[in-house]
Symmetry: C2
Subunit: 239 residues, 2 copies
């Protein structure tokens, strides 16, 4: 069976977006244009070819509604993502939302599916769609944090832009301690790529487990070796 991987571009201090994100400023308060520099590595495909190809190699994708777009609440306004008529995914993309919407096919093979019953449902649907291929959770950081906290990520690929931001949405916020295995590290012109396999999802016995709810069944999580009491977390679905 394929893996569940995630790719996230972050600043050196772990932020993936600034405060006050909007349609005009998708990365929010980004220090005055530093949002553009965050993803500048995509504009240098020769230097970053292997990593760019890996990002879109998955057979199905999952993203949070905040990454999909700035529209909130019911889908009163037609919004089909930031990527024009032909998004780069060319595969099913499962968008987490609280508001039902019919699937939205796009040019080039991308279809946006809207999932209203939580991150595990989205993963199950993406797994079915991907077959033996990989599923990629592509962001934003809040969505990736939910999947990490639930022990559902096999491999984490950070793309670290050489800036710090100081405020915003941050990778690992609310995620219990993780035991990782280094896969690779490589600096190119505008970014450092660092990949890890998630070895265990391990709320430590000496840390408070007040935020974790024991569940009778968490078989999907059990494939990660757990330390401590192996309690499972439940996380709210993004709006």
């Amino acid at each position: 069976m394929g893996r569940v991987i995630c790719d996230l571009t972050i600043w050196v201090d772990g932020y993936a977006a600034g405060l006050n994100q909007s349609e005009e400023r998708p990365f929010g308060d980004d220090g005055g244009g530093w949002g553009d520099r965050l993803h500048a590595w995509y504009a240098d495909p020769d230097a970053n070819r292997a990593e760019i190809e890996r990002v879109t190699a998955a057979e199905a994708f999952i993203m949070g509604r905040n990454m999909f777009g700035p529209v909130r609440g019911g889908w009163d306004r037609q919004w089909n993502g930031w990527w024009g008529d032909d998004p780069p995914y060319h595969a099913p993309v499962f968008v987490l939302t609280h508001h039902a919407r019919a699937p939205q096919p796009m040019t080039g093979g991308t279809t946006f599916h809207f999932v209203t019953d939580g991150i595990e449902s989205a993963q199950a649907q993406a797994r079915t769609a991907a077959g033996a291929g990989d599923v990629a959770v592509v962001g934003g950081a809040a969505t990736i944090n939910q999947y990490l906290a639930a022990g559902l990520i096999d491999e984490l690929r950070q793309h670290i832009a050489p800036l710090t931001l100081g405020a915003g949405t941050r990778l690992f916020d609310g995620v219990p301690p993780l035991d990782l295995q280094q896969v690779s590290a490589r600096a190119t012109t505008a970014v450092t790529h660092v990949s890890y396999r998630v070895q265990s999802w391990a709320p430590s016995p000496e840390r408070s487990t007040a935020t974790f709810t024991k569940e009778s069944s968490c078989s999907m999580r059990k494939r990660h070796r757990t330390a401590g009491d192996g309690a499972c977390s439940t996380s709210p679905c993004p709006s």
Copy 2:
């Protein structure tokens, strides 16, 4: 003139130590032994020779009192650091403290000097001691954050251990946005080494500057190209 560099070993989420540090547990709540894994790379000198040699290549060192030891308040108890009779620095080490103490010479050329008048005084004394050599700010994270916030660091070397902790003392907390230049990235057996030159120390015009106090003179900081209004920060000295 030599540079001011800093070396800090961190977990992947930026923490350098857990909560509740004590003499018995120098890294505090560390997930149950993960503090040992944080610095495991020092125990593999063949794999990490270049980085280990760089850590101690400076001609003078600066550290916070919390890194020097767990003793607080007046120096009622003789404490000469965690490193035995022959600390690895073999050069003057300037320890930030609010409590005066006579210099403490050790075997092998290390002498601990205790500085009570702030981070800039410590840097000036270390610069004099280092001559044309480098000055290294070696930690902990709270001390490095003060130097970064004051625009006094030329090069930042992260040594990233493949774990996340989730709580503790974190690199970059309270530091305004930094524009960095990648120097190198390398993964060895137990750590990923990533180095940056600090290009500018740039409190952004669109971010609140309420925490920054304009000063009439900050010539030491001016050697960094500043964006925004170039305001200088003042940070309290650690106890």
